[in-house]
Symmetry: C2
Subunit: 339 residues, 2 copies
Amino acid sequence: MRIVSLAGGIGGARFLRGLLTTAPDSEITVIGNTGDDISLFGLRVCPDLDTVMYTLGGGINEEQGWGRREESHVVKEELAAYGVEPQWFGLGDRDFATHIVRTQMLDAGYPLSAVTEALCARWQPGVRLIPMSDDRTETHVVISDERGRRAVHFQEWWVRLRASVPAEQIILVGADQAVPAPGVLEAVAAADVVLLPPSNPVVSIGTILQIKGIREALEGKTVVGVSPIVGGAPVRGMADACLTAIGVPTTAQAVLELYGPALVDGWLVAEEDAGVALDGVEVEARPLIMHDLDSAAALARAALDMAVRLASPVTSTPSPTDTPATDTPRTDVSPGEGA
Amino acid sequence: MRIVSLAGGIGGARFLRGLLTTAPDSEITVIGNTGDDISLFGLRVCPDLDTVMYTLGGGINEEQGWGRREESHVVKEELAAYGVEPQWFGLGDRDFATHIVRTQMLDAGYPLSAVTEALCARWQPGVRLIPMSDDRTETHVVISDERGRRAVHFQEWWVRLRASVPAEQIILVGADQAVPAPGVLEAVAAADVVLLPPSNPVVSIGTILQIKGIREALEGKTVVGVSPIVGGAPVRGMADACLTAIGVPTTAQAVLELYGPALVDGWLVAEEDAGVALDGVEVEARPLIMHDLDSAAALARAALDMAVRLASPVTSTPSPTDTPATDTPRTDVSPGEGA
């Protein structure tokens, strides 16, 4: 079974760990978001790629969900003693080493995809992790504060401002030039199914979908997504602030509509969101909260089973052409578009 | 009193700390050796500048004489876990921050002298520390081993090989192009006296003297040097291996001759080397070992007093033109060339 998954940070990484547990023999390719990458102290930091790599490789700080376990912060303290900015981004000493290796390789001319592969040679994440693009893109957020209307790096808005200032616009700088990294479109083409974990629909999944050709490639596949919104609130993070910025309500329904039936064939929502429905998309209600590895594995299994069923050309459910999904009241049996 | 001192690493730094203690109101400019600078993991490391800065700024690891006190080595361990080379150079976490700040500033276009000044803004070393040159020079050592005859970076020979393989040649790569950093020649011109601490005469002091114009500028000043060799052995480090490479015996006499009377006006040797003498150079025997701050201050005071005396146009000792130094048996009263 060949599975492609898009992924942002914590939610994506935990979903993937569940997927690896429940489908250990699958060949999983993860297309990682690099829109929130940032250069700090001359070092290239790729938060989402690293969260996936550390989580699947056993190096993650489980409590905070990002960064390394058994971490120290000596380098950061010293940089602060030199008065170097920014001081609001929490890089640990172990994490610094990753950024040092990455930056050295990038400076030597290796593309980010090759660098990521090299870093993964240590971590052995059990998946093939590919950045969405080797081209540099950066998510910037337009805000207005006492300094006027201006664009800040996504991390400044997210980490320093804690998304407390409304995002007026979210822009992926470089998106018009960026092309998918080598292997991305090939992996999608070869995939039996595609899964969208409950990553941020705007600045994680939405970012990946902006890279030329990726959305189009996915639209030809069987795609099952997991709602990042439960009962009108993000499961974690501040996805609501991102959704508001693009005029989308913070509901499982609205995120599904954002992705749309051209992209998504199946959609998993929480039990309290069981009423969600969209033409051409099969919706199932499942426990979405990943408390632990078992619940993450169960969620991944539900998404994978649904995708496999939708991808199968012969099913016991009515054919989409016979029974339009619009009229069915039972979301757990509404047929998807198929592959 | 305006004092200029050249400096390598540990010996120079400890001498300077003594000098600051004994002459706190002096205006001291230190010209630091950058020949043993090295790029590691994409970061620019300046061991001698940092040893001076940390020692005078109170951040040095007193036991080892270099690196930071209360140091940890998490980043280095992590780099090793990634399999990144070299693993033989002992960078600590606190030290890494210095190299990160330096590299970021260099990459932004600041010359090393400006970077050093910025780093010193934190450390407040009490001296003006200027690298010998903003141009990149690197000391390479020609060795022959099982891999054949080849040049290695000085640090590889010094740290990895512990100078155990004979140095056939020691070359300052870039010396023919390098010019003194801004302020170097001006400081020498304005100096009342110049002191040469017991730094390595080949790869520290000797390196600085290779930068175009520095030796010539010093030859016009009153210069007092402290022998780095006591009783036929280096006080610390492996200066003997460097001296052998350039065909100079490891004696206080030979190092004095290496510097020569055109450069040095006064020379401090250890009591067991009291017989050292050279035409045109006044030699004094003093305790040279810097056990602690008091002994370092006493040594610096001896060098400074001698330099001040030699620089003074009116002295109670016979004029150099009246009594050639060659014939005087008492090394502690032999007149120097004066300023």
